[in-house]
């Protein structure tokens, strides 16, 4: 039951055209080490399903995406994701833009093996117009109410980043919100967790209350330790968002030359270890 694996092995499961679910929310607790590994791989034409942040932006900038399924894409402290905007405005990606509650319902339906779940969210809005394949369903009971049938959003591979995990794939969030990471794993055929620190199972309940143990080993196929692996998104209580880095990222995105330089400096590195060394050196430099 030792499910330890590597970022490279996880990314090797991806095939062109697959649907990839990415955990976290905006610029919060994103599995960025795994996203960076995808950037180093040849995989392309992915559909990404996520409450989007810089994961979507980086994959857009690298031309990895064919379609994005999202309720929003934002860097939180910087409201608009620059690379995602450019991709949308160039018409280079297909947008499946849902209400963020509908998005949850889609993951939940997939995790329960249901074809859809009903809701009022989306009715009357242009979600129904821009996604003309969405259907409504009538309540079979006396009320006869017509509701939006949110289709299940199954994904081929899901990746989430957690604070702690054990080698068997029991995983723990120590920050304020699990977001919808459990539903995303439930919606996936293959399920992977990266974590800040692998610890012995018996230490999990010493790190946090049993309420933080929302992802158990039956929900996980592989686990990898990627310290600082959510950088530059936040991963509390281990670390906050690297706002200076995020600002550099967003600023570089505005200018092709600056972006080329940013790519050279941060994304063309051969490994996550090199990236983390460069990030640490940058932080030390800014302290001096």
């Amino acid at each position: 039951m030792d499910k330890r694996t590597t970022a490279a092995e996880i990314v090797a499961e991806l095939r062109d055209g697959m649907t990839l679910g990415i955990g976290g929310w905006g610029s919060r607790r994103k599995p960025m080490a795994l996203v960076r590994e995808i950037l180093r791989s040849p995989v392309r034409d992915l559909t990404v399903v996520t409450y989007g942040g810089p994961d979507v932006g980086l994959l857009c900038a690298a031309g990895k995406l064919r379609r994005v399924v999202y309720g929003f894409v934002s860097l939180d402290s910087i409201p608009l994701e620059p690379h995602f905007r450019q991709a949308r405005q160039a018409g280079s990606i297909e947008a499946v833009e849902l209400d963020e509650g509908m998005f949850q319902w889609g993951l939940y339906a997939a995790s329960l093996r249901l074809p859809f779940l009903p809701t009022r969210a989306g009715l009357g809005s242009d979600v129904m117009k821009v996604l003309p394949w969405l259907r409504t369903v009538r309540s079979p009971y006396q009320d006869g109410e017509e509701l939006l049938a949110v289709p299940a959003l199954p994904v081929d591979v899901a990746i989430v980043h957690m604070n702690r995990a054990d080698v068997r794939g029991n995983a723990q969030f120590l920050g304020p919100d699990l977001y919808f990471d459990d539903l995303l794993l439930g919606a996936a055929k293959r399920r992977f967790v990266s974590c800040e620190r692998l610890i012995p199972t018996e230490e999990l309940t010493r790190e946090g209350s049993f309420l933080t143990l929302r992802i158990h080993r039956g929900m996980v196929d592989g686990v990898v330790e990627t310290p600082h692996g959510a950088h530059f998104t936040e991963c509390p209580p281990d670390y906050g968002r690297d706002e200076a880095f995020q600002t550099e990222y967003a600023t570089a995105a505005r200018d092709p030359e600056a972006w080329k330089a940013f790519e050279q400096r941060w994304l063309a590195l051969d490994s996550e270890a090199e990236y983390q060394r460069a990030v640490a050196a940058r932080a030390n430099g800014s302290l001096q």
Partner: protein, 253 residues
Amino acid sequence: MSGATRAEVCAVAIAEAFRDDGEILVSPIGNLPQIGARLARLSFAPEILMTDGVAFLVADVQPLGAPSGPSIVEGYMPYRAVFDTVWSGRRHVMMGASQIDRFGNQNISCIGEFQKPKAQLLGMRGAPGNTINHTTSYWIPNHSKQVFVPKVDVVSGVGYDRAAALGPKASRFHEIRRVVSNLAVFDFETPDHAMRLRSLHPGTSVDEVLAQTGFPLVVPASVPATREPSDEELRLIRERIDPKGLRDREVRS
């Protein structure tokens, strides 16, 4: 009281939108909505529930952008619980709008054609679900014809005409209570729920509002002035809620 800035008048108008909401979740998005909701809570609406913007319901009111210490947590409200609250209807949100039309349709998705927009914005976010499930208000700090448009490019938040087209069953929880801008306050208390000028902030005129609005506005024969802050409200805003003066950066007098 004289000496209130435009931003402070806006803060009171926003607070008034939450009057009589009862013990429900109030979600003010943006600095001025935050100030207004905190003012409501410290004065005439102590019962409203508010979060710290992360995942906790807080029992105290902290200065905006300058917390004086850890908040007093009275409950847990991660996003999943927020969505449950949205769908239960026990919430009043005040959102922004990149565009809004005369029936209160709101756009925060994109400008231009959806398939290849001129400008991608946030995305639908929670606007469709919010508007069809519970009371919604809007805050618009830059009242102009670019925002108050005849027709929004994408309907994120559902307006009254769209809600009516769904029929009484699907639209029974829909309510757009108020639109507060830097110039005036608006509501939809008209026979066809077209937007109506409710009150004018001191220093603005009907002509100025009409000149900055891209659709026919319902203007009553007599338009009252937006209520000015009381001495106590000014004290709360200036000393307790927004000592850093973020309000005056969002709305200039």
